[in-house]
Amino acid sequence: MIYIYNLMIKVMKEEMNLKKIWKEKNVGVNSKINLSRKEILSLRRKRESQLTGSVKSAVITGLSIKFTLLVAIVVFTLMAFELGNLIFSISVLFLITAGSIIYDLYLLKLIAGMNNYADNFESRLSKLNDFLSVHIPVFQIVNSLSTPVMIILGMFYYHFLKYSKFEFRAVDDVIVFVSVTLIGYAISYIAGKYSLNAFRNEARDLLDSGNDQDAIADYEAKRRKNRRKRLLISLIILFTGITLLVLLLLA
């Protein structure tokens, strides 16, 4: 009992000592860096942090491409209004592109939220965790859709401007069309995956650096759940794409 009491007293004293050292001997540290008022004011012009910059620029580039595609779809619809067999396909392309634009705008809003440094840091790390485990993988899937949309639309334009109609003349045409579209999606997906890897690693490292086991477990659970979700979304996209191509073939 006396031993425990002495131990407690010892711990309390040492604890007080650490606080005392901190309070009394920090004088040299407190004024190590000392900016003038003018220097403080000039820092307002300093550039933005790079942490979310790579993702933000990827989203903005993706948005520009999608807006261009949307305009191209509208122009094609006006030009080829009489081609009844393409109305369904064009509508699907329009919906995919418009949906991607809405998702990108939502992502930009999330990024702005992540840059709120006045938030408490548990909340910021949690937002980062969500962004990393949920939104980045979905962004990759959604963003990669621009390439197949571009290929299909390009094909429509080519056929319409050259033949004033769109139809497959042989089975080979269908195979080439489907293959090119799928390869386009795959290349775009893989390229996107690598371009976002740096950000993913940086963010993951940041979460790990807290050594907060709950946060890491939460991240892993979300990642596993999201992997299933990604597989489902990919299958839906694949099924939709194949259905669209079959419908085109039958039209």
Binding site: V29, K32, R37, L41
Partner: protein, 159 residues
């Protein structure tokens, strides 16, 4: 704008302590210091005066320090062979006790460092909970654990 400049000017001691706890290299500390000041200037428009300025400043500064990454990654990880007193930049004239304490702090992970800084600067558990976003009971447990770890490290370095 003059008001915030004046407030930052008179609270630079807090920023110095945070920078010293997170980075060893002088250049890295200066970069972090500037990044924090920039973040504070940028966020000041949203400061609602519900908490004190120093609490709000601490929150932004720690957020920045935790998430701030250097390209060269000179993150101070408390290398056994690296002493605060023998820093390469040669800008130390620190008391040995405080150098040891900073060295012990540098062995903690970034979130632990943030919490112990607030504790050493005598913020209440409620205020620390508010700044970090953890519950008060969670903070109490964390602080107990970090204090023990810090104390052990300090004794170890002091021997």
């Amino acid at each position: 704008m003059d008001e915030i400049v004046e407030k930052i000017y008179s609270n630079q001691d807090i920023l110095n302590r945070i920078c010293f706890s997170f980075f060893n290299e002088k250049a890295d500390r200066e970069d972090l210091f500037q990044e924090i000041v920039y973040r504070v200037l940028k966020a000041y428009g949203d400061f609602n005066h519900k908490s004190s300025f120093s609490t709000w400043l601490y929150r932004i500064a720690l957020n920045t320090a935790i998430t701030y990454r250097k390209k060269k990654r000179h993150v101070f990880l408390g290398d056994e062979n690296q002493s605060f007193i023998a820093d390469k930049s040669g800008d130390y004239d620190m008391d040995e006790d405080i150098a040891l304490l900073y060295r012990a702090i540098s062995k903690l992970n970034r979130v632990e460092r943030a919490i112990i800084l607030l504790y050493l600067d005598e913020y209440s558990y409620r205020e620390i909970a508010e700044i970090t976003g953890y519950s008060s009971s969670n903070i109490s447990v964390k602080i107990h654990r970090i204090k023990k770890k810090l104390h052990d490290l300090y004794i170890q370095f002091n021997d």
